[in-house]
Amino acid sequence: MAASNRAQVLRLYRDLLLKSQDFTAYNYRRYAIRRIRDAFRENKHVKDSSEIQSLVNKAKTNLEMIHRQVTIGHLYSTQKLVVESPEEQ
């Protein structure tokens, strides 16, 4: 894919992962990070540019959703789970 496309995808990937780290709920945080990694890995070899564009759009929508849900999570947070440890931070 074109260099600008590649850069855009990588930027989205990084932004999605970074934003997901901010989920206060352990289960949501871990799910989001895992799902994002697996989804990008699964679509690594997509060549068709319109398909790539559609995936990029989905990623942008998801980024906005994650942003909203992370914010809500901060407003209503609770205690840490017994399996949450400093190494996760």
């Binding site: 289960n27 799910y31 799902r35 789970l81």
Partner: protein, 390 residues
Amino acid sequence: PLYMDVQATSPLDPRVLDCMLPYLINYYGNPHSRTHAYGWESESAMERARQQVSSLIGADPREIVFTSGATESNNLAIKGVARFYKSRKKHIITTQTEHKCVLDSCRSLEAEDFRVTYLPVKRNGLIDLKELEEAMQPDTSLVSIMTVNNEIGVKQPVSEIGQICNSRKVYFHTDAAQAVGKIPMNVNDMKIDLMSISGHKIYGPKGVGAVYVRRRPRAQKGGLRSGTVPTPLAVGLGAACEVAQREMEYDHKRISLLAERLITKIMTEIPDVVMNGDPEQRYPGCINLSFSYVEGESLLMALKDVALSSGSACTSASLEPSYVLRAIGTDEDLAHSSIRFGISRFTTEEEVDYTVQKCIQHVKRLREMSPLWEMVQDGIDLKSIKWTQH
């Protein structure tokens, strides 16, 4: 505590909450208001949700009725069909392992002069298809058999059941609350005429569900349920169904791996653990294990950092062992020693490992304290003991 009780209820998926919020904040119109944008918007959201639910099960959107949950759906479906045909048909077939609301509906129909056959299940929790065929009578109107059992996770052969019912012109209803969105369901392939769906079992909101009612042949005339459809909840159910449809394969693969991990680790570390229900014909995310010589409630209390249950939520308040376990022929004492582990889309390896580790630790500890375990270690056959009163 770690949440390992997903069969009781599931957490809301953030994607579902995100879809619902606008309808709880600004888009608060009544979907039945015909004269303004608030109503039109709300109605269009409700219809979109209906489409999402129907798409998950291969139905037509017009065949979906929103309800307050699977319990209401079960009541609607069973009592609805039974009463509609009661002039000519008075017999219903169900199983002994159905959800309480199904059994209660059947019992109340018995008080209205219906005859109900409660099919037994084999030791593995599955019904015998031959017995189903033999139980059918000329005046059987309905067969109600759940797809995936909420206590032991077994998966009934719904396609075969649908085939049998279809050939005998008997309506087939299935309580698919634990199955929808987790395993592929298609009402046409499986010849299902009525299906109950629950929002809060598939990472959707509580207080909403749906019932699928086949249009051809008509199972029920006219409007089925009155009252305002709660748009935010319907939107939530629809979103949950759409997410589930997209994520089904990914979730199933992952949950199967985690289930395998849990079962293998426990079974290799401690002896005398029985898995209740067929090992193959099951949904992997619902694991019911019986730990011999350990009292179930004590184990649950010991596992205080993990949210688990020893049976279904609606019967956990009573002291009686689960009727599902009794139906599969589990010994009384083993029935008291069973724990249900629920693995969800959001469960992590760390949570499984922690649960397994604590479970093994406390089972060993409780067994050390048990005189029965001591006797077993000494080679005594517990069944040969003559217990006396003091």
